[in-house]
Amino acid sequence: MSEPVYVGLDLGASRTKVVIIDSGKRLIGHAVKKTGTDFAATALSCLEASLKMAGKSREDIAHAVSTGYGRANVSFITEESKTEIGCIAKGCHHYFPEAITIIDIGGQDNKIIKVDRDGRRSSFKMNRKCAAGTGAFLEEMAVRLDIPLEELDQLARQSEDMVKLGSYCTVFSATEVLENIRHGRKLPDIVKGLFYSVIKRVLEMDSRTHKVVMTGGVVANNPYIVEMAEELLGEPVLLPEFPQLAGAIGAALYALDNKK
């Protein structure tokens, strides 16, 4: 067995993320795949891809921790799990060891997590039942507008006269979008309106007490959302190197801490 490694598996509602770190907390392998319906198969596939990237094998894994909605579905890899809230906090504190307010925009839910300078969580909030402001909302809208998800960011940047969407209900927002299409509003203006709506819904969940760190797949895939958030907040936003991997990195750090 070569140098041991530590694995974090984040089985999110939308995407599965796996990372490998070494004992020096360096990120040496990672993979992201659509979660789909077979959590275990996707996790395994991501794990193999991450190990390959790290030049490691299953035998090198000293410990692994799972997180995310499917955290209990990978007991064949690890029986230790942590919530994504704990893992995102740990992952972000690793990159920014100071008091921070984390805004995570995930596929299924949003979270605002407050962490003190010692890395302890002081509070967290998740979005309520409604999907407005989550990745699921953007996915739904992309389908309705017949635009590939990966084109949203570029389209939003082309906007000259953003459409304002007022509702915090996904169904009502969809109706507002249809109304704007009917009135001949341009697609980039509608998409920027969707981005703006996502940020507003997230920011209204809680107050911000410290420097803001943003994470999650929506942030990773749509950097324009971060720029818009900075404009709204009137301050720069901190981003870890891989915003989508924050939870998985946190899980891997727990694996390192809790190694047998």
Binding site: T83, I85, G86, D109, R121, S122, S123, F124, K125
Partner: protein
């Protein structure tokens, strides 16, 4: 967290005895209703039950029935029936579940108790709006449907201090019910019997308080989830000897647990306060969720709301008025926060969970900044979970689980 080992929850031995007296209560009501041997009054949970009982009525509590609809998970199928006739999914899901139950003729009473076919038919409906306006709307619907009078007390609300003026008001309203009730029952009010009933309610309340306060022990011998079940007699049988006798038995069992160092949750590590209604259709799941995390939800506003220390046999009407006004739900946020602060200290609490019940604004105290204020004052962390008392369409089990697990992690890591 997320321990694989299932923690054992201890069963309360007195449960069988409670089930027996609850069954006797429902059969007694059924007999009154089906034979006409006694008049039947429906009463809101903190309505003037003492008066009704003293006047010989068999007393049915629709809120108790609604909670049974929730606990049996029948409510989510029945609520839409009431929604369809104009009672919004956003209003009290006790009301909508109970009306849905009437419309469809489905009741857990018929399933649990052989020979009982339906909820007892009322001769009079008696409300107290100290909890909310919905109870009056609820009884108003039945009043029209069944052609029976709906009478009651319209209570002052949001009180920081309960003053003589408030008590005068409610006392007069309760007294004004007497002639109407005498006409319906055909009996004159016997003041001696009222005093006896109030005295029994006081005795019941003292014992129930002692039962709940056993949870100050570490480990606590009971959980909030036990409390929601064992409060049954305090709700439907207050003012009777049966309730008093039952709580003596329950208290003795819990005191034995304390002596033996037995906790309701094995290896209790975290102590939680529950603010708000239970999610009736998820009692077992929530109980297991917490106990598997070695957390005990051991004290609550809800179960403590059936402690009425004002009852005084020497002054029945005024003391009833005071008791119904001193209730937590009738009070201002200033009073409520002081009350919760004292509870946190008394029960040595590590964290508070607020249940924001979609259809029950009066029991959802997280909506006007209370969690933030109390957290700032006490340093005790809090979590708000979205859900509902009876409408499981408003409940996300996965979100609840993730929130609770993350909250317990936060408390553990902060220690």
């Amino acid at each position: 967290m997320a321990e694989e080992k299932k923690i054992i929850r201890k069963k309360i031995q007195a449960t069988d005895q409670m089930n027996k007296i609850m069954a006797d209560y429902f059969y007694d009501l059924n007999e009154a209703s089906t034979t006409g041997s006694r008049k039947v009054a429906w009463c809101t949970s903190v309505g003037p039950a003492e008066l009704l009982r003293a006047m010989g009525f068999a007393v049915h509590f629709p809120e108790n029935h609604a909670a049974m609809l929730g606990a049996t998970r029948m409510s989510t199928d029945l609520i839409p029936e009431a929604n369809a006739i104009g009672y919004s999914p956003d209003i009290c899901s006790y009301l909508t579940a109970d009306i849905g139950s009437y419309i469809t003729g489905k009741t857990p009473l018929a399933m649990a108790f052989e020979g009982i076919k339906s909820v007892p038919r009322p001769d009079v409906l008696v409300y107290n709006t100290n909890q909310c306006r919905d109870v009056q709307d609820w009884f108003s619907w039945y009043s029209k449907e069944l052609g029976v009078p709906s009478i009651g007390v319209t209570s002052p609300k949001n009180l920081t201090d309960v003053t003589d003026a408030h008590i005068d008001d409610v006392t007069r309203q309760i007294e004004a019910l007497v002639p109407q009730l005498e006409e319906i029952s055909g009996e004159r009010l016997d003041m001696e019997r009222l005093r006896e009933t109030v005295a029994l309610s006081r005795e019941c309340t003292e014992l129930w308080k002692q039962v709940l306060e056993t949870a100050t022990a570490r480990p606590a011998p009971l959980t909030f989830f036990d409390g929601t079940i064992h409060m049954g007699p305090a709700v439907v049988l207050r003012g009777t000897r049966q309730a008093v006798d039952y709580y003596k038995v329950l208290l003795a069992e819990l005191e034995r647990r304390i002596e033996d160092g037995v906790g309701a949750v094995e290896d209790e590590a975290i102590r939680i306060y529950w603010e708000g209604m239970p999610v009736w259709g998820r009692l077992r799941q929530h109980s297991e969720l917490f106990s598997n995390l070695r957390a005990n939800v051991l004290a609550s506003t809800y179960c403590s709301s059936w402690i009425f220390q004002a009852f005084d046999a020497k002054d029945p009407f005024r003391s009833m008025a005071r008791a119904y006004l001193e209730l937590f739900i009738v009070r201002s946020d200033e009073y409520k926060e002081k009350y919760i602060r004292e509870m946190l200290e008394k029960f040595d609490i590590d964290g508070i969970i607020y249940h924001d019940a979609k259809t029950c604004p009066c029991n959802s105290n997280s909506r006007y900044g209370m969690p933030q204020r109390l957290e700032a004052e006490t340093g005790i962390p809090s979590l708000v979970i979205s859900g509902d008392l009876n409408d499981l369409r408003c409940v996300s089990d996965e979100q609840t689980k993730t929130n609770v697990e993350a909250f317990i992690e936060q408390i553990e890591e902060g220690e």
